[in-house]
Symmetry: C2
Subunit: 140 residues, 2 copies
């Protein structure tokens, strides 16, 4: 299973040379693994996954603002009664792509809900959107 | 923006005839809009979205089990200390595809965090994976 950003330039079938039917691809803003946990658990139950690849990319929109900036923007048009709901959302803005891949892989490998064997099958990658090339990130 | 299932048969660039660069596509298990809210809010802030299309499909894996079955399965291999975390995950299993599309659209249109104009731009669809055809679902 692959977790990648929903940015149209980050289609894993392209940079991993898949035909679109070989892997299950979850796509969210940034390719944040926390927000893919529900899917990973569901699919692992159904298919006994072997691998989870987390792919973040250069030029990602999530690098351009902080969670606080996003929250402030949303709160400006939302009734105060719902601000706690805004605060509860982890937008997962990034500061550094490689660092965020490492953090995601480490988070996954230490997550108590994930099956032990699958933790070992988790790898991180950075896609260089300019070069169109993906590189493995060494974790620990 | 399109929210669709990560099932490889549900690639919106195919059934909506997009070239892959015209729309932002979030993909999660089932195409559940609740789990796409973070992305929608982030992207609406960045791009002022006009439309959100929610697409669920026939034969979806999320139709084959209940949230309780998934939780029971995961709890069987997870330490009791973390069961509350398992219970906190809304897996969003479906019973009926058309009904789940309606529920998702209604949930979105009444969500206090969503911009009013964008609520109006939310539409639901069912993809028939056998026929490869997508049909709009009337909501109210
Ligand atoms: Zn991105
Ligand atoms: Zn599905």
């Amino acid at each position: 299973m692959i977790v990648a950003c929903l940015d149209p330039r980050c289609d894993p079938t392209k940079f991993f040379n898949l035909d679109g039917y070989e892997a299950i691809v979850h796509r969210n803003a940034g390719g944040n693994i926390r927000h893919a946990l529900r899917d990973i658990l569901m699919l692992d139950r159904a298919f006994d996954l072997n691998e989870v690849a987390v792919v973040h990319h250069t030029d990602c929109g999530t690098l351009t603002s902080t969670d606080e900036q996003i929250r402030t923007h949303i709160k400006a048009r939302v009734d105060k009664a719902h601000w706690a709901e805004v605060d509860a959302i982890e937008f997962g803005s990034m500061v550094d792509v490689e660092e965020s891949v490492k953090t995601d892989v480490e988070w996954f490998r230490t997550n108590p809900l994930v099956r032990e064997e699958l933790k070992q099958g988790c790898q991180g990658f950075v896609l260089d959107t300019q070069a169109g090339k993906v590189q493995r990130v060494d974790v620990d």
